[in-house]
């Protein structure tokens, strides 16, 4: 593991009225690792992830990507910087086709005059790309890449969203509860995909409530509690019940920050 973190956050603060969702939260992601983020409901996991992925702008604090300070005003900014996120609500447009959804916001245009002047979309290329990515994922039993996303099951929609992130994320991929809506077999596929993405050298942030999944794939586990980072543990040194104890406040970690 390299010493320089690829993505860091220091002292993030986000208030919603009188609620402080993020209270001086810190965050570090190292190249090539899978970092799991766990915490109770309302601990501020989602707010922190949204700050990193550009969906919200923190009131205070600094985010650095590859050492450079960044300030994302929208998810588009974060995507341009190479941070791709799969949100819990998936962010798909139900009436559009699978291929259209995968390329939403970064469509391919036909080469030559049709694309430059008439802005015609290169449907063939987009469909082929979408089909390849879904096949790689192996999660799909889709016959028609042009069918509307609303005709897919929950698991299939999840697959489309994960495939989109895996296809376009160049620096960091953030997955918010990627296995929450999936069956046993589909969850396994997504975990395999996560490991596959890491093998390609792209670090992953995994937010999950599923302890077995977290302990299986994560290199480090970031435990979030009361709006800030409580500790980071190595899953090899702790048990699942330790992690649950830390995140619920039943037990305090011995050291300030591990791993």
């Amino acid at each position: 593991m390299a010493l320089e973190p690829i993505l860091t956050a220091r002292g993030l603060v986000k208030r919603y009225g009188r609620v402080t969702a993020l209270d001086n939260a810190d965050f570090d992601l190292y190249p090539g690792e899978i970092l799991a983020v766990i915490g109770d409901n309302g601990a501020g996991k989602s707010s922190m992830i949204k700050a990193i992925s550009g969906a919200i702008t923190p009131d205070e604090g600094e985010i650095r990507l590859e050492g450079q300070p960044v300030s994302f005003r929208s998810p588009i900014d974060a995507q341009k910087a190479g941070i791709e996120t799969v949100y819990q609500n998936l962010a798909l447009s139900p009436a559009l086709s699978i291929a259209d959804n995968m390329f939403l916001g970064r469509e391919l245009r036909k080469p030559g005059i049709m694309g430059d002047v008439f802005r015609k979309l290169d449907r063939t290329a987009m469909e082929k790309f979408a089909r390849d990515k879904l096949s790689e994922l192996g999660l799909m039993t889709i016959q028609n890449i042009n069918q509307a996303v609303e005709t897919l099951s929950g698991g299939q929609r999840q697959g489309v969203a994960v495939a989109r992130a895996a296809a376009f994320g160049s620096k960091v991929i953030i997955l918010d509860e990627p296995t929450a809506a999936l069956g046993v077999k589909e969850s396994r596929r997504v975990l395999e995909l996560i490991l596959d993405v890491r093998r390609r050298g792209i670090p992953i942030v995994l937010i999950s409530h599923n302890m077995p999944h977290v302990f299986e794939v994560a290199d480090r586990i970031h435990i979030h509690r009361l709006g800030r980072r409580l500790t980071v543990i190595n899953p090899k040194d702790y048990s699942m019940s330790d992690a649950v104890a830390f995140m619920t406040g039943a037990k305090l970690p011995a050291e300030a920050i591990a791993a």
Binding site: A55, S74, P94, A95, G105, K120, V184, L191
Partner: protein, 363 residues
Amino acid sequence: MSETTTASTASQPSQEFEKVLTGSATQVASFDTHDKTAIQKFQHFLHGSPSAVPLIVLVLSVAIFGIILGGKFFSAFTMTLILQQVAIVGIVGAAQTLVILTAGIDLSVGAIMVLSSVVMGQFTFRYGLPPVVSVACGLACGALCGYINGLLVARMKLPPFIVTLGMWQIILASNFLYSANETIRSQDLAAQAPLLQFFGNNIKLGGAVFTYGVIAMVLLVGVLWYVLNHTAWGRHVYAVGDDPDAAELAGVNVKRMLVSVYTLSGLICALAGWALIGRIGSVSPTAGQFANIESITAVVIGGLSLFGGRGSILGMIFGALIVGVFSLGLRLIGTDPQWTYLLIGVLIISAVAIDQWIRKVAG
């Protein structure tokens, strides 16, 4: 192809119950296409092609009126007359379609149309500008009105219904104040600024009469169909109407999309204003009073969802033509014109009921 991950690199199932997965069935779910009644198949077909319902209704209504009225209705002249009567609503309906696809509604389309036509006329006759410049000013005026609508909807986050209800009154009042309720006569236009009546010109093919306004409507709908279906901007219109939050997270600049849609809608309304001068011959600040309601009617009968993101612009044009066929057909039969309104009311409600039924496919 999914089994490429080898045992050494793949994650090891961490839980006992997952071990049995290696022996799990590899067969995939298939979409059943056999055990369906004809009605269910039809329902799926309609779900896949949203403009099919209005097209079927259109063909049926033409056939029925043709049978009742015979050659009087089934002539090239009558058919193209319907097109001429529908041209303005069709152009305004195209603007309305764009806005409704983003889950908005534009009540100010008619007012923008009339104000733009008045600007074209008054700039020529009051200030003596060349007609070309006046037309450009009229188009710019329409685009500006749309731009204001877009800003209020996208930046101020006001509901489109409220914004355009207010703008409707504001623009219509501006129109009467500015024009001093003055009509510019057709003879004056023909003598001094024939360009303003450009869309009134026509091409005759046998009995068929195609005004430039009709041709403009067909070209406009064709171009917008292409843009909506084959460009990124068009797909974003649907995405924004479908689920704006999802579109934003996926990387669509929703605010900019909304502003561009309302601005383009205003520009198209101004084009309708120009075509309106050609249709009625004169520039009248009281023309086109019902264009907003008529355009919404065409869109709804055309099977577009008022909740946004669904439907085709072709449906809108079929919807406008259905209204045109009913109006002219019933007039030729000689019934009280109120029957037309009654039937259009029935059509609107039926169109939405059918839309709900079709959507159960996806549910």
